[in-house]
């Protein structure tokens, strides 16, 4: 049995894959102690299976977890107080970065701060040269003095980045030892160990971000693992990485930078699956509406784009993370986003969020600021008696009062108009973020299916689909837990690298083979406990370039070896071919240099286990309720329970389709059909003539 849990700002989602069935659960996130939220969700699953948490966890082979904890700490400025130790003469690496700007005439803001302030940056006398030679030995007494200053400055974590530590790590290692001795208990990151890449800024930035996350992520992961083990879990705890792979929890604790974008990384995997299955389209905009943020990703011709260089914030101006990541954009707009008025009387929604605690006003947990969820209650979108399947009664009067007082009154609107305005502003922000990943990248959103994930997706999915001109909107049955669902659909993936430098004019075959064999061992070790039956697939890659180039291309090794002259000859041919394919030219005269060797292990899961479409007999007569739509005002909308709607059923708006996890609002003029996989497939309105169409999936690209 496998479990996947995704902890968001508001809800903790759990997906249980047992035998041939997949079940979904949702529980409130408990920010002070996130492990409780996970255990609460597991308790729901146990109850459902008429067993205990202990017994359920004992049966669990693999537990996959994604969390927004790291990124939230960065966004809210609550990472550890971190210092940087660097080579003397180069204290401004994090400030100067690599230069560059994308908008040369945009002078609407000043120069961005470094990730670690200059006041917490410390130089040590030492210097290593480009060949790894020691130009100036590390001044140990001076280094100890620096470490004493760190203690005085009450530093909670330390990043170390020295020039050329990738060629010779001796001085970084020595500083590591000195830190252990003179600053015990304070975690640190050595740049060469985290990301042995050329270019000092990249290593420094990586090390700084990683170190700043260590105290909080270590505490979190230790706590979570202890809680799960204590509750009977004896399987393998895997953490989702930013690039959509997984690593063992202990590896994540050693390098928490990999968890930065782990929260939303898996949603596109599930989104792609449903777009192909229910939307018959290989382009998809996958949008995950959380309580706090709206995360969007583009699936283009069946592929999920991974950015090679990821930045926190703007490219060149933010902070480079140095590792690849699934390309997901986030805006602060979700169910918990707060509606507020600025001094000029303009209505805004977000980015502030009521999050899980206190939550929207209607949760009755002390929240007083109206949110998107409150607006949905006022508009009749959400039934206050049937939220989370009736597990939580909502305070509709509280929602109405908050919107009346804080928004409707000041704007001079009636209550429903004000609530509709809140929805409209939130919708607009979401549309802008989708346009950023489509229009701004030259993709017409009218050629993509919109896949709505997250419990609040259905509230305005039709409105968004209409504005974008989406041909279809798909709300999967598992949409409310899209990321966790994706985690159980993606193959287990991990990657390892070894530094290796050799030119084709004097190739070191023996060393290359030795390193490849070490990489193979690490991959097999990872695969041995993956809990999958199919044999692991291991891909070996040489990063190579022409001599005097400084950026590498990935060239897969045909047989995973470089021991023979024939293997080198194959690599050379393949490099020329890849270079010509990517860059339109080849240089047969130039020497080829191999700079790194990597191995990627994939443990395939086989066909994804289908969602269980559980149907209940109709328990009550068809009902209607009054729902307010902007433009038409209040209308009687038919209310359908999802679990009482068999596949093949067609529903036309105005209507509401609701389940324990989600509510889908069908505007007048929209129609929906329940697909055989359980999804709700909506046609927002009749397509305009002459609009570009959505490319149907072709079997070879949907994997």
């Amino acid at each position: 049995m496998r479990l996947a849990a995704d902890t968001g700002g508001t809800f903790t989602d759990l997906v249980v894959e047992r035998g041939q069935g997949v079940q979904l659960y949702k529980s409130a996130t408990t920010p002070a102690d996130p492990a409780s939220g996970i255990i609460n969700a597991i308790a729901l699953a146990a109850q459902d299976a008429q067993t205990t948490v202990q017994a359920l966890l004992a049966e669990t082979d693999v537990f996959i977890h994604g969390t927004t904890r790291a990124i939230n700490a960065i966004l809210t400025g609550t990472t550890a107080r971190t210092a940087l130790i660097c080579t003397r003469g180069h204290p401004d690496m994090l400030l100067l970065r690599e230069g560059g700007r994308t908008q040369p005439f945009n002078w609407s803001y000043g120069y961005p701060d470094p990730y670690i302030p200059r006041a917490l940056t410390f130089e040590v006398a030492e210097r290593i040269g480009s060949q790894g030679e020691i130009v100036q030995a590390l001044d140990r007494p001076a280094a100890i003095e620096v470490i004493e200053q760190l203690a005085a400055a009450q530093v909670e974590s330390v990043a170390v980045c020295l020039l050329w530590s990738i060629a010779n790590p001796a001085h970084e290692l020595a500083l590591g030892e000195l830190l252990e001795r003179h600053l015990p208990g304070v975690p640190y990151t050595l740049s060469h160990a985290l990301n042995p890449t050329l270019r000092e800024y990249r290593r420094a930035s990586c090390a700084a971000i990683d170190a700043s996350l260590k105290p909080l992520m270590n505490a979190y992961l230790e706590g979570l693992e202890a809680r799960l083990r204590g509750a009977g879990f004896a399987g393998r705890l895997l953490m989702v990485t930013s690039s959509g792979g997984v690593v063992d929890a202990s590896d994540m604790a050693a390098a928490p930078i990999h968890s930065i974008n782990s929260g939303p990384a898996m949603a596109p995997v599930a989104g792609r699956h449903y777009a192909a299955l229910d939307g018959d389209c290989e382009n998809a905009v996958v949008a995950d509406t959380g309580g706090t943020s709206y995360d969007v990703a583009l699936v283009r011709r069946g592929r999920i784009p991974v950015t090679r260089e990821t930045w926190l914030g703007l490219e060149y101006e933010g902070h480079i993370t140095g590792f690849p990541a699934v390309d997901v954009r986030s805006v602060g707009a979700g169910g918990g986003s707060i509606a507020w008025m600025d001094a000029g009387g303009l209505l805004h929604v977000g980015p502030q969020s009521a999050a899980a605690d206190p939550g929207p006003v209607c949760y009755g947990r002390g929240g007083v600021l109206p949110t998107v969820t409150d607006a949905s209650v006022v508009l009749g979108y959400i039934d206050p008696e049937y939220f989370l399947g009736g597990m939580m009664r909502l305070d509709a009067a509280g929602s109405a009062e908050a919107i009346q007082q804080r928004i409707a009154g000041p704007l001079g609107l009636d209550l429903h108009e004000a609530a509709a305005a809140i929805m409209a502003v939130a919708t607009e922000r979401m549309i802008q973020s989708i346009e950023e990943i489509t229009v701004n990248q030259g993709v017409d959103p009218r050629t993509a299916v919109l896949v709505g994930g997250g419990g609040a997706a259905g509230l305005n999915a039709v409105a968004i689909g209409r504005r974008l001109g989406s041909p279809r909107v798909v709300i999967p049955q598992a949409g409310a837990v899209l990321s966790a669902r994706g985690a159980l659909m993606s193959d287990l993936l991990s990657e390892y690298a070894s530094a290796f430098f050799s030119g084709s004019d004097g190739f070191d075959h023996a060393r290359a083979d030795q390193l490849l064999s070490e990489l193979r061992t690490r991959c097999l070790r990872f695969a041995s406990r993956a809990g999958t039956s199919a044999p692991p697939q291991i891909e070996y890659i040489a990063e190579a370039r022409y001599r005097h180039q400084v950026w590498q291309l990935d060239v897969p090794l045909r047989n995973g070896e470089l021991g023979s002259p024939e293997a080198l000859q194959h690599l050379i041919e393949d490099f020329h071919a890849v270079h010509e394919e990517v860059y339109a030219v080849r240089d047969e005269r130039a020497v080829i240099e191999v700079v790194n060797l990597r191995a990627r292990v994939r443990c395939p899961l086989g066909e994804p286990v289908a969602d269980t479409v559980a149907l209940a007999p109709a328990s009550h007569a068809a009902t209607t309720r009054e729902v307010y739509f902007s433009g038409t005002g209040a209308l009687d909308a038919a209310v359908h329970r999802l679990e009482e709607t068999p596949p093949g059923t067609t529903i036309t708006g105005p209507a509401i389709i609701e389940s324990s996890f989600t509510t889908v609002v069908l505007h007048p003029g929209a129609s929906a059909e329940r697909s055989s996989s359980g999804s709700i497939v909506i046609i927002p309105e009749l397509a305009e003539a002459g609009v570009p169409s959505c490319p149907a999936r072709s079997p070879d690209v949907v994997s």
């Binding site: 690599e98 700007r101 006041a119 005097h548």
Partner: protein, 635 residues
């Protein structure tokens, strides 16, 4: 979708036509995507650090009617004007363009920026043989076979002394194959021909990627539809900029600056420069008159037609709504008046324009943006620091690690500080006004990997900013030298005499200061325009210029001054003397003392000379001096 379309009168008076705004935005962004792919190709494949790390190159797409369509992340000085002129020359000089052709172009007399920028120009030809667009790659080469191993020579009296090989749209590929004659000419003249050829291949690759992608667009949308998109895009851009100009105050002002002297007869006293800016809101037009400037000068700093136009346009684009598209459409609303045989105009052969992308074009953009700032608080900008300190020198020598192979390259570290502007402080890595900070900077490790040099230091210099309500960026200190070899260093630095000027009461930035540290540790000052050969153990110390400030320093937010002190950007003394902000011993702002000090400054107690570059620089020249913070780190 009805609300997302707009109907507008075309500026050429044709029938109103409905624009599909979404489809247009998709098309424009798709072309930007083409340019990004071109850029990525050259960046990832080039052999010189000036291209593969500093990214001193540009890619763009020009219409068959010579209109700039998309420029991606290109450097403004390379493309805002230039590719349009080159496209015109291409069709004038070659009447039979065929698919598979490529042209090498660098002529300063035929629309190029300066000879040091090699262009690869590829006409995009459709199935019927019709020229539909042009893909253009322009790269600042490490070497072009000049008389000295640098592409930036201020002290050449004419193009003959500069020694540049000039290629006015010379065909270098036919049927997608190199024309060997031209390649051999380059290889027998340009130093380190294998690196040149590697860079050339990268440029060809980038241009061919652009050609391939443009052909794909043409096939998908049809060339006629493509041309309608182009017309809509340029009209839309023109409407946008005219609407912005209509909000500006009317008037006419003349701004001035001085370029440093060059040690040649005729320029030994510096060059007085001016620009007259007329804003006519009713017509939605800005006019910039550059005709009252000196004739072409007997040295290498003359501007080309493209850099005269672009320098002025950059000054305008820096000053007003940054969201305006930058293309031929928006340039229609800006009239730039040039004359022939003028150092800021249209050069006449054999005037040398070796430095046309830096020196005078920097001064020109600065004049325009400072003059616009005088029209109204909230627009315009101060001057960015003058350019080309020794941290941007041409480097050459032999690499003992690589069989004493010859190398020529150009480093890009520690260039000028950015100017203060109405909304924030100067951009630290601005480098030059002419690229708006979009050029990258070298990595110490990449430089040391590729060349036998060592970068000993790369850091900011406190107290060198042009003070202001929003201050200029400070100078950068870079120290480097050869490793077990000799290193020839060539640079041509403006700004050792005339600093970057502030505006609206903002102060000037610090001057450029070149030094050499001898093997025994002695520091000697170097000249502004020179060639130095360093022995092992010797280093260059380069201090770049600081940017000018915007608005009076006493109007600076005291919290920003405090942060500058705590973070080591300025000293506590300077905070008090120049900004009138006094800090208490715990690092908080002493409100009372600050009020008193600001009142005194308002009455004319000018302490700005008190703490300046000299102290700051001299402290830096001592090895191992800890520069900051002046007090301990605070929680």
């Amino acid at each position: 979708m009805a609300d997302r379309r707009s109907t507008t009168e075309m500026s050429n008076g044709t029938e109103p036509r409905e624009r599909d705004v979404v489809a247009l935005a998709v098309m424009i962004n798709r072309m930007e995507g083409v340019v990004r792919k071109m850029t990525n190709t050259l960046f990832r494949t080039a052999r010189s650090t000036v291209l593969n790390t500093a990214r001193d190159f540009s890619c763009c797409v020009v219409s068959a009617n010579h209109e700039l369509l998309a420029m991606g992340e290109s450097l403004p000085i390379h493309v805002i004007s230039g590719p349009d002129l080159i496209s015109r020359w291409l069709t004038e000089l070659h009447h039979d363009l065929r698919r598979g052709d490529a042209f090498l172009h660098n002529s300063p007399y035929h629309g190029n920026s300066h000879a040091g920028d090699h262009c690869i120009v590829v006409p995009v030809i459709d199935e019927q043989g019709v020229h539909r667009a042009t893909a253009l790659v322009k790269a600042h080469m490490a070497d072009i076979g000049n008389s000295e191993p640098t592409t930036l020579t201020a002290t050449a009296r004419d193009v003959y002394e500069e020694g540049a090989l000039i290629f006015p749209c010379v065909k270098i590929q036919e049927g997608y194959r190199d024309i060997g004659d031209v390649i051999r000419m380059c290889e027998t003249r340009i130093r380190v021909p294998e690196d040149w050829y590697g860079d050339y291949l990268g440029m060809i690759g980038a241009a061919r990627v652009g050609e391939r992608e443009m052909l794909r667009i043409g096939e998908e949308v049809g060339w006629d539809a493509f041309e309608r998109y182009v017309a809509d895009w340029l009209d839309y851009s023109e409407e946008r900029i005219r609407a912005t100009i209509r909000t500006l105050p009317a008037g006419r002002r003349t701004g001035y600056d001085i370029h440093d002297a060059v040690p040649l007869r005729g320029v030994e006293n510096g060059v007085q420069l001016q620009a007259t800016v007329t804003v006519d809101p009713s017509a939605g037009v800005i006019e910039i008159d550059l005709r009252d400037n000196p004739d072409c000068l007997p040295c290498g700093i003359n501007l080309t037609q493209s850099t005269s136009q672009t320098g002025a346009l950059i000054g305008v684009f820096n000053s007003i709504d940054h969201t305006l598209p930058r293309n031929t459409g928006s340039a229609r609303a800006i009239n730039i008046l040039l004359r022939e045989n003028c150092c800021m105009g249209i050069p006449v052969h054999p005037a040398s324009c070796s430095m046309a992308t830096s020196g005078l074009s920097e001064r020109l953009a600065g004049i325009v943006q400072r003059t616009l700032a005088e029209f109204q608080d909230g627009i315009g900008m101060a001057s960015t620091g003058p350019e080309c300190p020794p941290a941007t020198a041409g480097l050459s020598g032999r690499d003992p690690r690589n069989g004493n192979a010859r190398f020529v390259d150009m480093m890009i570290l520690g260039n000028s500080g950015g100017a203060g502007h109405p909304h924030g402080d100067g951009w630290l890595t601005n480098g030059e006004t002419s690229d708006g900070g979009s050029m990258m900077r070298d990595s110490t490790e990449v430089l040391e990997l590729l060349r036998p040099i060592r970068v000993w230091s790369d850091r900011i210099v406190p107290d060198t900013e042009g003070a202001g309500r929003f201050r200029g960026a400070p100078s950068l200190y870079v120290e480097y030298g050869p490793v077990e070899t000799e290193l020839e260093v060539l640079y041509a630095a403006d700004g050792t005499v005339n600093p970057a000027l502030g505006t609206r009461g903002g102060e000037s930035g610090a001057l450029v200061r070149p030094f050499m540290r001898k093997a025994d540790g002695e520091i000697v000052a170097l000249q502004a325009w020179t060639r130095v050969v360093l022995e092992p153990g010797e280093t260059i110390v380069s201090i770049s210029s600081g940017g000018g400030g915007y608005g009076p320093p006493v109007e600076r937010d005291p919290d920003h001054v405090r942060r500058d002190v705590l973070e080591g950007w300025i000293s506590e003394q300077r905070a008090s003397a120049v900004y009138g902000v006094v800090l208490a011993s715990d690092g908080s702002i002493d409100l009372e003392a600050t009020a008193a000090r600001r009142a005194a400054l308002a009455e004319g107690d000018d302490g700005s000379a008190a703490t300046r570059l000299e102290d700051s620089v001299m402290r830096l020249l001592e090895p191992g001096v800890r520069l900051w913070p002046t007090r301990g780190p605070t929680a």
